[in-house]
Assembly symmetry: C2
Homo-oligomer: 431 residues x 2
């Protein structure tokens, strides 16, 4: 397949897709939900082939688990589609209505972005989720999933595309790229692709960002922090720290660094370290932190350098450091963090307010786990990714991140010359 | 000056700037307005030196006019500052407030983007406008103006910076780059600069886009269209076409191509061509358009090729073409246009609605001049640029385009494990 040619065709098709009615788009989701159920055997067969290949290629069991598309995952997909149908249409919302002058009315209306390229990890449920979010938001999408689920992806894509066309959406609204070299072709389609959303490893996302002129929405890394303030309530705090580390260590919103206020560290840090260690977490930290932990618990802490605090472990490992106060904590986070999600544990409103104002991250939390940073948990229906950039969308990106807007100005022959000469004046009256 | 070092320092200063109060930011604008008046002689002296140098360098009079900073321009600057003060604070707006579960409250709050780099043309009033928009929106900014107004820029920058610091904003919130090679240094600061806004020629903006990993907001070109539908009201339509072409031909929102419905072209096109020609506009077009014009008016039309319709003239030149209907007009615009601003002249609601839905541009207009695409005219106070991209901001970009948001989640010890296990459920209640 020639991705450039296909992307150019898709760009021509995008206005038609954008103009499709919410009813048509929801109908495509409903048909897909039904078709998944009807094609269960074909889908599970395809997935079995992917799983067999994975075993042959000796892929690690933790990865194989993600490749699996079973009854539970299908039920989740179908439920996700039905939930998405109930969400309000993100397209056609009037964001601003203003009469510039008598009979000259400006409206700002939400519209789909146009053509989006999404490159995602080998997870068949991601194919359904990403495609359905793009359909719901009226975008054309080029989908490239991980090769380890090629068979499952192919049939899921075929089903979704058939349902979209059956519902009345344009033939060219969905495209699947299957070959790895097609990613590089896609990166060159800056004339026809409006946005790229890469998901996957940190290195992969950075590769995409560095090799395309297309705007990229993605997270560069997830170095999340928890700061235990002097006034933290230990009973609440320790479970939050443990949850943020162990509930899903490979997730980008898992905590990597625990900062503890020096004043209360002698009491707090040993307890936190013991709880983490008991949960299987390996401890690293500054000499100061290590000494306190060792002295009070006997646990060993690997000594680490200052620069090491910029490490994303994605594993059962945590960095420990003491700070003087919330100010030093904020400085550390803004310097070594990845502007993803950071949490303060404190009963002190002033410290919490300072932290939330000054930490420059997509998510700033108080007294809860960083693991809450997620589109489903925020109630967005689903997420197409988490953005650590600041432009366009930040944090978990749901339907709202998949639309932009256009200005519609309606007049009756108005010319700028009359306003430049002073013959007429704008009155800018919001409607 | 080492731009990388300075940008790194600015990044550290950005949270403090972002947390400044609206009162402090408005006070900086007020002090600047006063200081401009108080320093009028120094400013006009500096500008006289720039103008003398321009004359020595034989710069064209049309450009020299833009370099000038006189009584009128200063009055406009001061008025602009005072208007900006009256606009609501774009920072700290609660965009979403939702209880995810009992005692777990999510807020989405607007915050400044952080560190912005603006590279703008040699116009002293632009220095005041850009700096004040960034101050009002709580952003740190690196300003690089055109070298032809270096003396005026230097004193204006000094005044604005002193006023910002006097008002209580952090010392590091404003930085001026003065050397051309500092632009290339700035392009490499992707770790510390969150957004670049280049203004100037098409070639320059493209150069910036192609040489940086920093997100860029700018317009790549302004190929705007007017489509005169079969049902256009000639009396309204002709003045709109002439205004869109001649009111300021060098502007990006001036019209470059007139598309005319074939059914009424025999009547409409000669009249439009005559009016344009009388206003000093050179005509280009397809053979078909040329024949009609020649036959009815005797006026000469340069024959142009199809590919030539992608030309931005920025001059008193217009391209003419006939189309079958609104559908063909839309196809032409989406293919050859630059997604900036396009207008339909019609009394037919259905054609207008189709046009506004299907034209993929930042501005879609009915029965008015494309020249209305402007932040002042839209009532945004001012604009920092016009975006032809679709990500983050589109069309004239005012204060709203200079902010992003963060999610603030406040709890009392909630952990994700409880929701994953089913022990607790989200209820997602909007507040």
């Amino acid at each position: 397949m020639n991705i450039r040619q296909e992307a150019a065709k898709m760009k021509q098709c995008a206005p038609e897709m954008a103009a499709s009615s919410a009813g048509t788009r929801n109908r495509a989701l409903e048909l897909t939900a039904e078709a998944l159920e009807q094609n269960r055997d074909r889908i599970f067969d395809a997935n079995a082939r992917d799983l067999a290949a994975a075993q042959e290629n000796k892929i690690a069991p933790s990865i194989v688990k993600r490749l699996k598309y079973d009854e539970t995952k299908m039920r989740d997909s179908i439920e996700g589609l039905r939930q998405l149908m109930t969400l309000p249409d993100p397209v056609g919302k009037v964001q601003l209505a203003r009469e510039l002058d008598e009979g000259l009315v400006l409206q700002r209306v939400s519209v789909p972005i146009g053509v989006i390229g999404v490159i995602f990890e080998a997870r068949p449920d991601a194919m359904v989720q990403v495609a359905s979010l793009c359909i719901k938001s009226g975008n054309c999408v080029i989908l490239k999933g991980g090769k380890e689920t090629a068979n499952t992806n192919r049939i899921l894509f075929e089903i979704i595309k058939n349902c979209a066309v059956e519902a009345g959406l344009p033939e060219g609204c969905l495209l699947q790229a299957e070959l790895h070299n097609e990613i590089d072709e896609l990166l060159e389609c800056d004339e026809h692709v409006d946005l790229l959303i890469p998901r996957g490893s940190n290195a992969f996302v950075r590769y995409i960002m560095e090799h395309t002129k297309i705007p990229v929405m993605g997270h560069s890394s997830g170095i999340c922090h928890i700061y235990a303030d002097a006034s933290a309530d230990t009973k609440k705090a320790i479970p939050v720290i443990v949850d943020a580390k162990i509930q899903y260590p490979a997730a980008c919103n898992a905590v990597e660094t625990l900062l503890v206020n020096r004043r209360t560290a002698g009491e707090f840090l040993p307890r936190a370290a013991a709880a983490l260690s008991e949960a299987g977490v390996k401890l690293r930290g500054t000499t100061e932190a290590a000494d306190i932990v060792k002295e009070n618990t006997g646990l060993e802490v690997d000594i680490m350098s200052e620069e090491d605090f910029a490490t994303e472990y994605n594993d059962l490992v945590i960095s420990l450091k003491l700070v003087d106060d919330v100010k030093e904590a904020v400085r550390h986070i803004n310097r070594y963090g990845s502007h993803h999600t950071d949490s303060i544990l404190t009963e002190d409103d002033e410290a919490a307010s300072y932290f939330c104002r000054m930490v420059d991250s997509a998510g700033v939390y108080r007294n809860c786990s960083t693991r809450f940073a997620d589109g489903f948990r925020y109630g967005f229906g689903a997420e197409v990714g988490i953005s650590t950039g600041k432009i366009h969308a930040r944090g978990p990106v749901g339907l709202e991140g998949l639309v932009t807007y256009k200005y519609i100005l309606s007049g009756s022959g108005q010319i700028v010359g009359d306003y430049a000469s002073g013959k007429k004046q704008f009155h800018h009256r919001d409607l």
